[in-house]
């Protein structure tokens, strides 16, 4: 039975149970070629476009240095094309039924398409922002954009990973450019320090994760996720007979899983792997902060969903039951960390006086809310009816999609205010409403949305996740829900404090007039983002439908 299950899957790089070993070399080559060229022309076209864009920008930098805005336009063109290709109605979903791309190293399903759409959309929104706010400077723009694109490529791999090697490669591809970006402001001491801390911490986390991966791969004899899942089922089937062996292997697997989670937790800035985040965010410019806090997090969540569901939801209903211990472990792991992360983020955000630090803790808290949805999905993944898990993941996608706008807007607001105030300290924002009322109202909208008040998008996001948590019908998840709701109350105070300082506090006498009219580029951009807070609430039905489409083939 076990063999049959394994054979039904496509398993490229494994040694036993695999029928491929008996075919001859030319067939194998043929197979590898077809599984590589197909997806490159099909579902992974956007990534090809991104790679080409990187090359073109570098070439332009070398051969046409006089064209100052070249990088910006090339970037927009490349990203726009990639975005055009990634949105589901342009053929990315085709070929899903064909053999898995890249000999099974990647998956091309609706979920990866959905998250990649979000990533590209986010970057597409980020580029004009960097241009308006003036970081990076025009002469450095090419390098900056190349780094962003490189990271984006890694993130695309992360959300489409189906193999531990790809997980590692993707994470490193996503992380390394981020380290450089964090230290982009070379002349600032804090910037370099932040980058260094980030890099050292990242290296440590990657090391632990790699160790964990080797434990998992060693214990299960494969690094291909579906194969590992089938091996795990086979292991659990042995349980009553070879008790001691199973227990020993399980312990090893738990340790491996935990260590693997360290890497993801680092990217998510989950407690206790979050320590880099406040320092890095404070040192890095707000533009980079926006990129790290949104893109990195979406990719890491996508990866978490992939890994968690690989070991908790398999297509075969008979095998599904046997994975109960794995699910239990994952639920405990993810929900505990989600609860602690969320609570810690909110509590620590209290005393912050620097806006970027405050937002750093706020993003930690938001990562916690999003992890809750993953825990909920894993908790109900064992049900024969898959709609529960699908709804939970869909709620996560809704949250991620809305979080993208909220957090980008928050960081954009901080960046624009930095440009006129020269400071990112909260108390400098005092009395802002008197000089730039429109901007302040938009900022307040963003803060209320992050808090999750209706009629703003943040409410839609929180409501979707909390609804998914409630509908699991499991008491540990309900406890998680209670923690999430309490945390929302906690977060009220520090988000409102920002609004209070801007609106109620008296203006300091010695300040130059910080005016950002909504008619300026910065004001207009910010207004546009803030208006999404309302739009995404009122068109929440569309967002929900889109998210449901994004998860429709995840569990098949």
């Amino acid at each position: 039975m076990n063999d049959e299950f394994a054979r039904s899957e496509y398993c490229p790089l494994t040694t036993d149970h695999c029928p491929l070993i008996s075919v001859n070399l030319s067939d194998l080559l043929q197979d590898v070629l077809s599984s590589t060229t197909g997806p490159l022309m099909g579902s992974f076209r956007p990534e090809v476009v991104i790679s080409i864009t990187i090359l073109v920008i570098l070439l332009q930098r070398t051969f046409l240095p006089a064209w100052k805005l070249g990088a910006f336009y090339l970037m927009l063109l490349g990203l726009g094309t990639a975005f055009y290709f990634v949105v589901p109605w342009h053929g990315t979903m085709e070929g899903m039924k064909s053999p898995p791309p890249f000999t099974g190293m990647l998956v091309a399903d609706s979920f990866s398409v959905g998250l990649r759409t979000l990533l590209y959309l986010f970057t597409l929104l980020l580029i004009p922002f960097t241009q308006i706010s003036g970081v990076p400077k025009r002469e450095d723009a090419a390098e900056f954009y190349v780094l962003v694109l490189g990271a984006l490529l890694g993130m695309s791999l992360m959300v489409a990973a189906n193999h531990l090697i790809v997980v590692l490669v993707g994470m490193e591809m996503a992380s390394l450019p981020c380290y450089v970006l964090a230290g982009w402001q070379r002349n600032r001491r804090f910037g370099s320090e932040a980058a260094l801390k980030y890099a050292v911490f990242g290296a440590g986390a990657a090391g632990v994760m790699l160790f964990g991966m080797s434990l998992l791969a060693g214990a299960l004899g494969s690094a291909h996720l579906p194969t590992m899942a089938s091996k795990l089922i086979a292991l659990f089937e042995l349980f009553p007979q070879e008790r001691s062996a199973v227990v020993a292997t399980s312990g090893l697997l738990m340790l491996g899983g935990l260590m693997l989670f360290v890497g993801i937790g680092f990217k998510l800035a989950a407690f206790p792997f979050h320590f880099w985040a406040p320092d890095a965010f404070e040192g890095a410019s707000a533009e980079v902060g926006a990129f790290i806090s949104v893109a990195s997090k979406i990719a890491a969540l996508g990866l978490l969903v992939r890994l968690a569901l690989a070991f908790s939801a398999v297509p075969d209903p008979g095998a599904l039951e046997k994975l109960a211990p794995a699910r239990e472990y994952l639920v405990i792991l993810i929900s505990t960390l989600a609860a602690i992360t969320c609570t810690f983020g909110n509590l620590a955000a209290y005393g912050q006086t620097n806006m970027k630090r405050l937002l750093a803790y706020s993003t930690i808290a938001h990562a916690g809310y999003m992890m809750m949805a993953v825990a909920a999905a894993v908790a109900v993944a064992g049900n024969a009816d898959r709609s529960g898990a699908e709804e939970a993941i869909a709620s996560l996608v809704v949250y991620a999609g809305i979080y993208l706008f909220m957090n980008l807007a928050a960081f954009a607001g901080v960046a624009f205010l930095r440009n006129v105030l020269g400071s990112e300290d909260l108390h400098e924002y005092a009395g802002l409403v008197r000089r730039s009322p429109g901007f302040t109202v938009c900022m307040a909208l963003v803060m209320f949305s992050l808090l999750g008040l209706p009629p703003l998008a943040g409410f839609t996001a929180k409501f979707a996740v909390f609804k998914a948590l409630y509908e699991t019908g499991k008491s540990p998840i309900h406890a998680l829900l209670a923690i999430g709701v309490l945390n929302t109350v906690l977060s009220l105070f520090y988000y409102l404090r920002v609004v209070k300082v801007m609106v109620i506090d008296p203006e300091p006498a010695d300040r130059t007039a910080p005016e950002i009219p909504l008619r300026s580029a910065a004001g207009g951009y910010f207004f546009l983002l803030a208006s999404f807070m309302l739009l995404l609430f009122f068109f929440s039905g569309g967002v929900a439908n889109w998210a449901r489409r994004a998860v429709e083939s995840l569990l098949m």
């Binding site: 986390a205 360290v262 405990i332 509590l347």
Partner: protein, 761 residues
């Protein structure tokens, strides 16, 4: 000629468009031309209403509607659709004995469902036989009266998410839908015609009256918004929509009373009107809740379920709820009607509402909005007919208010307030007619509503014309003899006054007599002697004398007298008003003079209104056997003779007191009255305001202060406590983030180890 389904949405849509256009373009672009969108829209809307009236009149005359009444529903939009919201016992059945629950996404199917049941089909048990009549046979019979404009919008999320298969096609209706459904029936058609006609004239009048006001565009925007709300109110086909626009007209009234909000009295009056109305609206809302829990629907018409006032429910008296619940519903609805129509004990806001511009007083606080309560009673008459107590309550409230208004109006000195009290009094007469609970009563009340709209709007506009010429002075003691400089205003005011007192052959005569007849009919026939109606009849009959006095006193004081007295505020150029103001006066005067005669002699209005489903119901199930036509006619003519004598006596008495140089007579008469305290009672408006202040406002203020104290101390305190706690916790966590990367790495490893330890142990 356009179809009803095209005309009906057009009537409110045009004023709404004008309101938005004026609001957007008014301040910058239109400025002094801001009246154009409103005047044009209202004129078109009026044309559409008159066309609708003709069309409904023609169609309702057909034989098939004779018994059950005529109605036509136009559904514009499904506002909300909640699946499986409730279970209903009373249900509409399709041939298979099941109900096909329509879905929000298929508008055409909605339409097909809104079939009317075939004649004779009644409640559950009996309807089973008629189930054989399928939709297909119902349609050609002309009973399929619904038209749906495929205009589908936001349906509830719950509905969207659910897969199709889970919708039960069970035997009971379970979904609750709120539709923007408009209805065309005789009652609505009459109301629409009156509202749009009067409002068009008032809008034209306002061009002159509001000329030069800084809020010119604002005024016309509000007026259009009001007409939109009012036309929606009378054409809504469910209680929820009725309530929404009930509130919307209240809002417009608030905005327009406080139009000159820089004047403290105007701001206070607006607030008072709004707050007093809240009491009534609260009752109305409770009534609607009770209707919902009792009937399981809020629709008037039959849709997926049997409507509250739908033809199926009206087909037999049993499904109309009576008993304590029925009475409670009616009394709560009555409370709502009392608030909006300024009836005792909620009448105190209307006199103060005169702080608003005079055209507003004419349109909203005399002709249209305040009659919404009467309209609502007429609409809900089948519910009231099931509860004798509620009918008595309506009649008593009406009679009492008629008397209170008349008594207070006699001694007031502010011309507009006199008219306001007369409005209260006349609305009381309408309520009294509704309280009769018979076809005669309802049609009489509506008849009076129509004529009242004309003569009262006329009187107010004439008063406004006087006020305009007198530089804003409205105290009748401060001017006199104005007929010499304002001839048109004088003559139109005279016609309006004669119509109001009910002098033959002016409009008020016929409608007032119709009301008296309806009340007299309640106790004059058969061996049943109803003391309540008898008492009310005689008091209101005596009230006619008072009407004559309070109408002609200000008239004589204003327009007659030896010398022309003009207050200094008017300056040197007190003159007749411009054509834009006198034109509407003349048109309304024609209406006030001849409309009653026309409607009475043709007998058209009563017959037409009897074609409304809710009135047809009264016809079908009369409370008492109807007297023969001849006896009724003889009663009618005797009432007509008596009331004419009464009116003539009143007018002569007033002329005797006030005309010419004999004005001192009135003062001499006032002496003993003052000693008796009667004068002060009337002049002090029966002391309702101070009594309310003492017994309602003061206790509420004290209670509010107590609440504020509690809120500040306890609630805010506990919230602050909650706020401090996480702050402290956060401060405790801060040292973790020391900035040392060695510590970070240690924490990470420790975290992993602790977690592993917890898992393994």
């Amino acid at each position: 000629m356009p179809e009803i389904s095209q005309l009906l949405p057009l009537i409110p849509a045009l004023p709404l468009a004008a309101a938005m256009l004026t609001a957007v373009l008014g301040p910058r672009l239109l400025r002094k031309q801001s009246h154009w969108p409103t005047v044009l829209a209202l004129a078109l809307s009026c044309t559409a209403s008159l066309m609708l009236l003709c069309k409904v009149h023609r169609e309702a005359g057909q034989e098939e509607y004779e018994r059950s009444g005529y109605e036509k529903i136009v559904t514009l939009y499904t506002w909300a659709n909640v699946d499986e919201a409730y279970e209903s016992d009373l249900r509409l059945r399709s041939p298979e004995g099941t109900v096909v629950i329509s879905q929000g996404r298929k508008p055409l199917e909605n339409g097909r469902l809104r079939q009317q049941s075939p004649e004779g089909a009644t409640v559950n048990s009996r309807r089973d036989d008629s189930n054989k009549d399928s939709l297909a046979t119902a349609a050609p019979l002309g009973l399929y009266n619904s038209e749906v404009i495929p205009f589908q919008g936001f349906t509830s999320l719950a509905n969207d998410c659910r897969p199709e298969g889970t919708k039960k096609q069970g035997a009971t209706i379970k979904n609750f839908r709120i539709e923007i459904a408009l209805r065309a029936d005789p009652l609505t058609a009459v109301m629409l015609a009156v509202i749009t006609f009067v409002s068009t004239l008032v809008a034209i009048y306002s061009i002159g009256y509001m000329h030069g006001d800084p809020g010119y565009w604002r005024f016309f925007s509000y007026i259009s918004l009001f007409v939109f709300s009012m036309t929606m109110l009378v054409s809504a086909s469910n209680f929820l929509l009725l309530y929404v626009f009930w509130e919307a007209v209240g809002l417009c009234s608030y905005l327009l009373i406080g139009f000159w909000c820089e004047k403290p009295a105007a701001a206070a009056a607006g607030m008072k009107a709004f707050l007093v109305n809240r009491i009534g609206d609260f009752g109305f809302a409770l009534g609607i809740f009770l209707i919902w829990t009792t009937f399981g629907t809020l629709d008037f018409h039959d849709s997926t379920a049997m409507g509250v006032l739908g033809k199926m429910r009206l087909a037999s008296p049993e499904p109309i709820v009576n008993g304590a619940v029925g009475t409670a519903i009616c009394l709560l609805l009555l409370l709502g009607a009392c608030g909006k129509s300024a009836q005792f004990p909620l009448h105190v806001w209307l006199p103060d509402a005169m702080e608003g511009p005079t055209p507003v007083s004419a349109l909203i606080h005399a002709a249209t909005m305040v009659t919404a309560g009467v309209y609502m009673l007429a609409r809900c008459m089948p519910l009231f007919a099931a509860s004798p107590f509620a009918l008595h309550a309506v009649a008593v409230v009406g009679g009492l208010t008629a008397l209170i208004g008349a008594v207070v109006a006699i001694t007031q000195t502010d011309l507009k307030r006199i008219l306001a009290y007369s409005t209260i009094s006349h609305l009381g007469y309408m309520f009294l007619a509704m309280g009769a609970g018979t076809v005669l009563g309802v049609t009489a009340g509506m008849f009076h509503l129509v004529t009242h709209a004309f003569f009262k709007a006329l009187l107010f506009l004439a008063a406004g014309s006087v006020m305009h010429a007198m530089g804003g002075v409205i105290d009748i003691r401060r001017f006199g003899g104005l007929r010499r400089i304002m001839p048109v205003t004088h003559w139109t005011f005279l016609i309006g006054g004669l119509a109001m007192v009910g002098m033959i052959p002016f409009a008020g005569f016929y409608s007032k007599d119709a009301i008296l007849l309806a009340v007299a009919e309640k106790f004059s026939f058969g061996n049943h002697v109803d003391l309540v109606y008898q008492t009310l009849y005689w008091t209101t009959f005596g009230g006619i004398f008072l009407i004559a006095v309070y109408t002609f006193r200000p008239f004589l004081l204003t327009f007659y007298g030896k010398d022309t007295v003009i207050p200094p505020e008017a300056g040197h150029h007190a003159h007749e008003s411009p054509l834009s103001m006198t034109g509407p006066l003349v048109i309304l005067a024609l209406g006030a003079a001849f409309l009653g005669l026309y409607l009475e002699k043709t007998g058209g209005l009563a017959e037409f209104l009897a074609g409304t489903p809710s009135v047809a119901y009264l016809n079908r199930y009369p409370l008492a056997p109807e007297p023969s036509h001849e006896t009724l006619e003889s009663l009618h003519s005797s009432i007509g003779r008596q009331s004419t004598v009464m009116v003539a006596a009143g007018i002569l008495f007033t002329i005797f007191l006030y005309a010419g140089s004999r004005r001192r007579l009135a003062d001499r008469l006032a002496g003993p009255m003052k000693r008796l305290g009667l004068y002060q009672l009337s002049f002090g408006k029966l002391f309702f305001d101070p009594l309310y202040r003492l017994f309602v406002v003061r206790p509420l203020e004290l209670f509010a202060q107590a609440c504020a104290w509690f809120d500040n101390r306890f609630i805010d305190g506990s919230v602050n406590l909650v706020g401090i706690l996480p702050k402290l916790l956060g401060a405790a966590l801060r040292p973790l983030q020391g900035g040392l990367i060695q510590f970070y790495a240690l924490a990470m490893i420790l975290g992993v180890l602790i977690f592993l330890g917890v898992l393994l142990l």
